[in-house]
Symmetry: C2
Subunit: 675 residues, 2 copies
Amino acid sequence: LQSSTMTYDNVIQPGDNPDLTKERKSASFNLWKMQCFVHEGEEVVRRRKEILEFVQKTREFDDPIPAEFLSREEIVDRGARKAKAMTDNADAIDGSDFFGEGLYYQSLVIGRELHSMSLHYGMFLPTIQGQTDDDQMDEWMGPTIGRAFLGTYAQTELGHGSNLTKLETTATYDPKTEEFVLHTPTLTATKWWPGGLGKSANVAVVMAQLFTNGVNKGPHPFFVPLRDPDTHMPLKGVTLGDIGPKFGINSNDNGFLIFDHYRIPRRNMFMRFSKVLPDGTYVAPHHAKLGFGTMVFVRSIMIKDQATQLGAAAVIAIRYSAVRRQGEINEGAGEVQVIDYRTQQFRLLPQLARAFAFLFAAYEIKTMYLMVTEQIGDGNMDVLAEMHAVSSGLKSVVSWETAQGIEQLRLACGGHGYSRASAFPDIYTYAVGGCTYEGENIVMLLQVARFLMKCAKEVRIGNPKLANIGEYIARNDSGKARIRSWKQVTDEDIIHDFEAVARRMIFASYDRLKSCENAMTKKEAWNKCSIDLCKTARMHVKLYLVKVFLRRVSTCEDAACKKVMHTLATLYAFDLISGASGYFMKGGFMSEQQSELVQSDLYEILEVLRPESVALADSWDMSDLELRSVLGRRDGNVYPALLEWAKKSQLNRTEVLPTFEKYLGPMMKEGRSHL
Amino acid sequence: LQSSTMTYDNVIQPGDNPDLTKERKSASFNLWKMQCFVHEGEEVVRRRKEILEFVQKTREFDDPIPAEFLSREEIVDRGARKAKAMTDNADAIDGSDFFGEGLYYQSLVIGRELHSMSLHYGMFLPTIQGQTDDDQMDEWMGPTIGRAFLGTYAQTELGHGSNLTKLETTATYDPKTEEFVLHTPTLTATKWWPGGLGKSANVAVVMAQLFTNGVNKGPHPFFVPLRDPDTHMPLKGVTLGDIGPKFGINSNDNGFLIFDHYRIPRRNMFMRFSKVLPDGTYVAPHHAKLGFGTMVFVRSIMIKDQATQLGAAAVIAIRYSAVRRQGEINEGAGEVQVIDYRTQQFRLLPQLARAFAFLFAAYEIKTMYLMVTEQIGDGNMDVLAEMHAVSSGLKSVVSWETAQGIEQLRLACGGHGYSRASAFPDIYTYAVGGCTYEGENIVMLLQVARFLMKCAKEVRIGNPKLANIGEYIARNDSGKARIRSWKQVTDEDIIHDFEAVARRMIFASYDRLKSCENAMTKKEAWNKCSIDLCKTARMHVKLYLVKVFLRRVSTCEDAACKKVMHTLATLYAFDLISGASGYFMKGGFMSEQQSELVQSDLYEILEVLRPESVALADSWDMSDLELRSVLGRRDGNVYPALLEWAKKSQLNRTEVLPTFEKYLGPMMKEGRSHL
């Protein structure tokens, strides 16, 4: 076991900005213990340090020039180089633990970017694992793992994302040659977005409408070679390319793909569940809805990733706010650290709390997933459906609040937050993609709402069979809000109040929905009520986040860590209540007095947490390599580093740009001649 | 006078996406009349069309490759080329009307970017106009207008932005040589951020602490040559360069600047207000606070610019939502336009309303500014201070809500919104800069709060002398909320309710501040109460926005236009109330019933406005050239245009990227060899 001193030795070093050192020494808790709590145990933190050391010492991972100074072509090159180097050195980590070690290793090697092999591992490989029959598994698994080809997953089309049933790409079975003919019948059927499809991948899982014997059997996955293994040229009948620059994630060559009557063998259809026999006979799958599990697992990773992005933004903004001095609070007393401003604390600390809430929720979902998948053997599909609902909701709430939070934190850093030196622009554009991919956020919320309406119906008809997550919906409690001063309020009080508000919103939505259904079709009623349904779903998810945060804190073994973390969890809950005070005050559930108390307590908590802020940021254990931020540097020596960074600008390679010779010089010369 | 048909002929053309044509025909109002209302008259709309035609036909303005495919060096080159071409052709517009014609012309020629000459016209020229004495004016004005040199405005330093009094750059007068010695005494004194400073400008207004006879006289502006007019090389004693890539606005070479005992003549100090005589005697200015007026005017331009960015985002998202079909509302009825989803309407229409509210507020501020500057001659400085407060608050609220709104609209467009083809990423990164420059948003809100607390104090001591904007604060009204069904509620009811809520917040903040002042210094109390003070300031600004929107609509002469616009203004107000329901319900001011009515009415209004949406978007009169968005195209033929756009990607210049030869090819070859 490492002593706390050792860890502090790493975090506090000679030459550090003294303001930051002062902050680090003012914390009431032991940093090592807090890091272990945050990262689920000593072993994890120790492994993080090992992986960090490995990456730091491996010369293949060096970046001669930081990514922000590279052109699109250059960052794509960098991405491919690093993806190869990263997988060459895959032994450095436990490959079975992508949630933990894999995600961390990747963030250290590559940063906040996808790369040419992201989809190969993230989507192509799981499809090979989950959708092949035994022979296909034998044939494709080896080369997939051995990087003998590079795969991607081609589902979304120009014209269809959320509504998969209407994908237009066709795979028509030709029994004469025992082949499928892949075709892009319309412009909108063009495959669009798959990562690595544009220039890197040479095979793909392609989702296409399966036609056999003239009948459409719906979308099915196919294994499709795209490029010649030796020359990498597109195969005949295949047109593909990059879809152009995006908000972020530009090291990835997201691609488009058009088929012109392109033939693949019958056995290139993934045949674990459905089959087409040589004569064209279609064999349907036994179960309609498989693959829920993988989606839940992918979402747990995504939620952890989002939490980490928000956490990184909070770490950067908190450290910078401790070293930035601007303005005086008491005249003549000298300029203060900007973190001394109450408004600044309000910009920073609720976001820090939120990042922890999201991280803990990711742990929870992952743990639940592992538990539940064991139970599925016993046929417990209901729990899985419920977990799918909560993970959908989390994906939506977490990605949206992460995006908003990152921008709040960036803006709290003033002008320097706008520079890419801060890393905020890259964090934001990377993270905000999560609002859209893996299920559009509003669509996700409506899935949660559907689950909640089912629960409400079961309660109303007097036959509730709700598992853990929805159980509170059936509880009968018409009491008032129990929220009290933050020093007296219990976890149960807080949860009680959130449950009561969520429950009331659920039944209000349910009643409104039912009453609408009298006047129109069920689908129309659903559409008419959908805004309320989204709001209701959001409250259900927030309740879940508050519960998980409080529960996780209650397991903390170190008293000092527990105390600070509990204050942070309370800040999180109070901030949510304050932001939704209209819902809490409805029907007199929460009184005026309580509402005002929540508000003034919030400010008091900010004051209490102020001296813990930097150490709480440090508890994420984010190295400079992981942060990649000049503003968020461990040593706080921000200003010289900003100047050093700026000197690398592409425009500073010469004192005088060609623009002078071409435009500005002649213009000014002419201007002078008229004087 | 153009007939409405003529305008429709332009907006609806053969070959357009039929969904968009259907939408355009479903509007209840005349488009031309609405455009004239939105843009303050027929003459303006006609001039817009003339300027557009001029830009379209002028070959110098052509872009061979859209900006999003260019590298940093290339967009800087493009920016300089176009800035020169734009100013070469300045006769095309009324140069005295930057708020109207200038801003529009620039957006057509250059797009959402600053350029190497932005600060020359935006900050340098106004300083020459406002800060020179007669001789200096004679010397510098001609070459400034004649582009004989290129200027920028260097104020912000690495270590100081908001707190100008602590700028560190020094200008020390040397009476022996009658020169000022400019010096950068510390690293943090490095000038940082000025637009065009890095590589383009060869002179600058530099703000520096003036020392004469050993005494610091505070920050003063100086006229400083930076580069050799012929070679463009930095002058001896001057080090400067580009500060590196940013979130957006990368065509601008924001720069850094370091002085090493750099000498300029005494007369290079701007001497309209303060002077230093040859012997070093300092002559103080007559008035301490001049220049308020210019700031108000600059803000009116900024608010219009922000409104236009949010408007553009709304136009793009609304048009795309009308052509995008995804999912079914009633099964088997075919996929619907996504604008048919209530959730989508809720994402789009409040933002559209907001954009109009901001545009009208910009008009209001500009008009007030022109009125008030006439009155200043009569010594009416109070009104100017008040207007300064409201423009500060507007700057803050408008820029923040614009940024949030743009992202909401982008996310409403799903995956395609993430592509730079949509233009959203460029709109966002450009607009969100406005939260920080020209006064950090929280600092701005606290300025408003200071004004409001002064008003509250005057009311409390029984001696209110409040001008227009703060007048409601003194009113005595303890009644209940008057909000009613949107079909019955009057403008007066709505304004009454907002005023009551804002007033209560102002006095609650005031009382809390006073009570804090008993226990600590005034400055500490201010800091402690600052979060509430910001919230109060925001409500005051929202009240102002609602008032202006309703007032502007009441002046609309066309009944059909007025009706739709009034519905939109009501949507704006109801959406604000719904988002702040906790404040409105406080103390029982707004009843539960009223609160629920606001909510359900909101949804009803969405339904009413649904068929007007596309025509309302068209009423901004934004050409494809101005929008620069594949998703927002007038003709709605989005999908083929996306594919065309993508083909221009830098990565599509060759079928096979070098990454194959360098990394991926050998990797896969090795992988195959192991099979």
